[in-house]
């Protein structure tokens, strides 16, 4: 298998483009997953059909391993697909996309294993699976049921591919570091320093007091935007809250029993943003 990381991404883009998806680019603000990108969170609300595919760098400070672990990084890439409404043959479409990037599906043990997804800070939940290939989770496959606390109708389906895992498999390497990004540049060339430096920052250096304050400030700013009936800037500040929370979490500044309070604050904001977005969309329609 001779594909590069960027070649694999191009193949996925082409596959979903051919199936009517609008191909977007990553969002500009840190998100923990492609779901948080407004192209998913806001677009799955309401009744307008929507099909999109995009790469999303997912920033998860607590997953960093100083660049030492072959599978775990504080930033990894997802390929995110949203099909709204979910087509009846979506499982087949998905499996064909694996073929399209060079996986000979019948030679593998590819299975759909229950995984009910919930993002309490977004008031979002869905039912579906994590897709296993030979015991390795390669995709999160979810029928969204709720976002921002609203029951969704129609139901959207989300496919979130774990690109590093797929890339490592396709290139037959055991460490992400050894993956070829392009013909002559490796993943380590691009991201090893990121893994090292960001892990030090996330785990050791990030100023807990500063980020705790940021959380409060971004929350207040989101509120002001909501009061001004501007859901998009309000939502950007919800995302900033979420990243501040993730940093505090990585610094072990949030106890298991303390999470709920922070999450509730973010959920309240997300719900207000979702409601406002629906109102604004309806008024504009």
């Amino acid at each position: 298998m001779q594909t590069t990381f960027q070649g694999m991404i191009s193949a996925l883009q082409a596959y979903w483009e051919e199936r009517g998806c609008t191909i977007l680019q990553p969002y500009h603000t840190e998100v923990g997953a492609g779901t948080s990108n407004p192209a998913t969170f806001l677009r799955v609300l309401g009744t307008r059909p929507w099909r999109t595919g995009y790469v999303e760098p997912s920033i998860r400070p607590d997953d960093g391993r100083y660049g030492e672990n072959p599978f775990r990084f504080q930033q990894f890439y997802q390929y995110q697909v949203i099909l709204k409404p979910a087509p009846a043959d979506v499982q087949d479409l998905y499996l064909a996309s694996l073929q399209a990037i060079g996986i000979d599906v019948p030679r593998h043990d590819v299975r759909f294993v229950e995984d009910n997804w919930e993002n309490p800070s977004l008031g979002a939940s869905g039912l579906g699976w994590e897709v296993w290939m030979d015991g390795m989770e390669i995709t999160q496959f979810t029928y969204f049921q709720q976002a921002g606390g609203f029951d969704l109708d129609p139901i959207s389906v989300e496919l979130a591919y774990g690109l590093e895992r797929l890339g490592m498999y396709l290139q037959g390497v055991r460490r992400a570091h050894d993956m070829r990004w392009s013909a002559d540049v490796s993943w380590a060339d691009v991201y090893l320093q990121n893994g090292r430096q960001m892990s030090i920052y996330n785990y050791e250096l990030a100023d807990v007091a500063v980020h705790a304050r940021h959380f409060d400030d971004f929350e207040a700013e989101a509120r002001r935007c909501i009061d001004a009936r501007l859901p998009l800037p309000a939502y950007d500040h919800v995302l900033k809250c979420s990243h501040a929370f993730n940093l505090l979490d990585a610094r072990r500044a949030i106890a298991v029993t303390d999470r709920a309070g922070y999450i509730l604050r973010m959920r309240r904001l997300s719900q207000a943003v979702a409601r406002l977005h629906l109102e604004v969309e309806e008024a504009g329609a």
């Binding site: 607590d62 391993r65 030492e68 672990n69 072959p70 599978f71 775990r72 409404p85 979910a86 009846a88 499982q91 499996l95 599906v105 019948p106 030679r107 593998h108 043990d109 590819v110 299975r111 759909f112 294993v113 229950e114 009910n116 869905g126 039912l127 699976w129 290939m133 030979d134 015991g135 390795m136 029928y143 049921q145 029951d151 109708d153 129609p154 139901i155 498999y169 055991r174 807990v208 610094r251 072990r252 500044a253 949030i254 106890a255 298991v256 029993t257 303390d258 709920a260 309070g261 922070y262 999450i263 509730l264």
Partner: protein, 636 residues
């Protein structure tokens, strides 16, 4: 005698949903057949991830006609009335029968072919299953989307629409190795599916899996994953993977957790009980070498994570972790975990003092209290949340702490779920209560108590744990002092499900709570005693108590003026109360004294002082009985 076959073809159902379907479908099928008025020779249910199969054999070809009779007006009623009645039943007045002075509309009915009844049966099955979790899609609501529907009576398709689908006879076998095929009939169902590499029968899959595992070696399944795995595959293939022996330097429990949690692999132990550097797993097809290599990579990745975390944790040491707890906050704005840890020691001391427990364990429990939260900041717990408590005990042992301290650290999270394993050691039990009590006290003080179904801090589980351990150990707790007044009620409320499991009734629990006792073991003792005492004697006490409560009304208990006691029956009762009943047996002895009192004495005496004295006496009886339970809660 047609055979009915229904296959509800789904996208992969979760294992839990499969088990729910397995449990519910036989009863649902029986109920639907009964509702349709159809007898059957045999009924079978087959559950697999992508299909729910239901078979009912030997159905009648039709539901026989049923004769119905409706009585109308009197025969001599005006013609208009008779005509109206006949019309209502679709008859001509001349078709009405005259009997017993009335007219009757008699219908012989019509036989209904079974095909016409099948639709409602299938709909009843699909709509009748209660999944703990179901989803909506454009076709309806089910555990996962329904994508095909096979409904056949013998060789014929029974046409119907459901979930946006037309019934047919095409099914889908193994996703990659089977393709689609036609189901012949109920009789060929399992064989037709086997030909496309799907075992519809869960028993067959379980058998194949167990045989495969047995053939590979002495496997273990401490996390009870087998039942889940049965519903994760339609064509099970047991494979063996290997890993480098050096990972066995990790504690067994860590290695096993890396295998079983999430991945559902089965560890293999050698004759002497030690783990072997291999694991067994169940695949659903694929090229065995490719599949094995992939799974080995995954496990090695998890073991690497575990080894990395374990090594770093050991380098850091438990004491260093304890020092980090000041940075970890506890509940929102309720200080840090370090603050919590500082409170635990004194709570443990109080629990010891309150129960007169042996002093030698006390120091160990206090030491464990200081260390028990340290693993919250360990790498191992952040990798494998299941290891919380165990990781702490591991690092405590490495730091040279005593066994009893290590055990208490490990056990203080128990019980992890309702009915779960309780702490085995005394220090563990005391620390477990102290930890949960502190969480409850702080949460209620800060207004974070559960509302409706929302319990984000797991307070119900914490309260249930406190009660379960106290009952198990017979510890006397003082809930208001331990957790505060409101949380005390909340804690005592958790007694109910525990006692119901023992067979005690809701009324008995409420009666025991109504005694005013606040000590969980005492309340449970009263409830169990009330339950054991159910019968005529208890009814006598209940009636005597009820009479006293009714007649005493608002009169409070108080001191009796014995000079005003004139009747023998009231003197008897007053004397009997000199030794208030301490048991239900004694209460039963008191009951006839009460009855004689009411029979012989006029409580509402004309003299006000006598009347008040007698009312007070009655109120005293009620109060004395009430210490054994609020008998008014018991069914009459």
């Amino acid at each position: 005698m047609p055979d009915l076959l229904v296959e509800i073809g789904c996208e992969e159902l979760p294992a839990a949903a499969c088990r729910q379907a397995e449990a519910q479908l036989p009863g649902l099928l029986e109920a639907e057949l009964h509702r349709a008025g159809l007898a059957s020779a045999d009924r079978r249910v087959y559950v697999a991830p992508r299909r729910l199969g239901v078979i009912a054999t030997g159905l009648p070809a039709e539901r026989p006609a049923e004769r119905t009779e409706a009585r109308g007006p009197r025969s001599d009623a005006p013609d208009q009335a008779l005509a109206g009645f006949a019309r209502k039943h679709g008859l001509d007045p001349s078709q009405l029968e005259h009997r017993d002075g009335f007219v009757w509309a008699v219908s012989e009915g019509e036989a209904t072919p079974v095909a016409a009844l099948v639709r409602d049966i299938v709909r009843g099955l699909v709509e009748g299953i209660q999944f703990s979790n179901s989803m909506r899609w454009e076709g309806g609501r089910f555990s996962r989307p329904i994508r095909w529907l096979v409904v056949k009576l013998d060789e014929d398709v029974a046409p119907m629409r459901l979930a946006g689908l037309e019934s047919g006879e095409t099914t889908f076998g193994h996703r990659y190795e089977g393709g689609h095929t036609r189901i012949g009939s109920a009789a060929t169902y399992l064989a037709d599916l086997r030909a496309v590499r799907a075992m519809a029968d869960a028993r067959e899959r379980r058998g194949a899996i167990v045989a495969g595992l047995d053939a590979a070696g002495p496997w273990a399944d401490p996390g009870a994953k087998l039942e889940e795995v049965v519903h994760l595959v339609e064509w099970p293939v047991v494979l063996e993977g290997r890993f480098d022996r050096r990972y066995l330097d990790l504690p067994d429990r860590v290695v096993i957790t890396a295998m079983q949690s999430h991945q559902r692999y089965f560890p293999v132990r050698a004759g002497g009980g030690e783990l072997e550097p291999r694991f067994l797993f169940v695949a659903n097809g694929g090229d065995p070498d490719v599949v094995r290599a992939g799974n080995e990579e995954v496990l090695v990745g998890r073991l690497d994570d575990a080894a990395f975390a374990h090594r770093r944790d050991l380098e850091r040491g438990l004491e260093a972790m304890v020092l980090e707890l000041g940075r970890v906050s506890f509940l929102e704005g309720s200080g840090s975990i370090a603050d919590k840890v500082a409170r635990l020691g004194p709570i443990v001391e109080r629990l010891y003092a309150g129960n007169g427990l042996a002093a030698e364990v006390r120091a160990a429990a206090v030491r464990a209290a200081a260390l028990c939260k340290a693993d919250l900041v360990s790498g191992l717990v952040s990798e494998f949340a299941d290891l919380e408590g165990y990781a702490g005990s591991l690092y405590a042992r490495a730091a040279g702490e005593a066994d009893v301290v290590c055990a208490a650290i490990e056990e203080h999270h128990r019980p992890r779920e309702a009915g779960g394993e309780l702490p085995a050691s005394e220090a563990g039990a005391v620390l477990a209560i102290a930890d949960k009590a502190d969480t409850l006290a702080v949460a209620f003080e800060r207004g974070l108590e559960p509302t409706g179904s929302r319990d984000p801090f797991g307070l119900r589980r914490a309260a249930a744990g406190v009660v379960a351990i106290a009952l198990d150990r017979g510890y006397a707790l003082d809930p208001p002092a331990l957790v505060g007044e409101r949380a005390a009620e909340f804690v005592l409320d958790r007694l109910e499900p525990l006692l119901l499991d023992e067979g005690v009734t809701v009324e008995e629990v409420r009666a025991a709570r109504g005694s005013g006792a606040l000590e969980p073991v005492a309340v449970a003792g009263l409830a169990r005693a009330l339950h054991a005492f159910a019968g005529p004697d208890r009814d006598l006490v209940r009636d005597a108590y009820g009479r006293c409560v009714r007649i005493a009304g608002a009169t409070p208990p108080g001191t009796i003026d014995s000079s005003l006691l004139t009747e023998p029956a009231e003197r008897d009762l007053a004397e009997a109360l000199d030794h208030p009943p301490g048991t239900l047996e004694q209460a039963a002895e008191l009951a006839p004294v009460v009855t004689r009192f009411f029979d012989a004495v006029l409580v509402m005496a004309p003299d006000e002082a006598v009347r008040r004295n007698r009312l007070t006496l009655v109120a005293n009886v009620a109060a004395a009985l009430r210490t054994l339970g609020d008998f008014g809660q018991l069914p009459g």
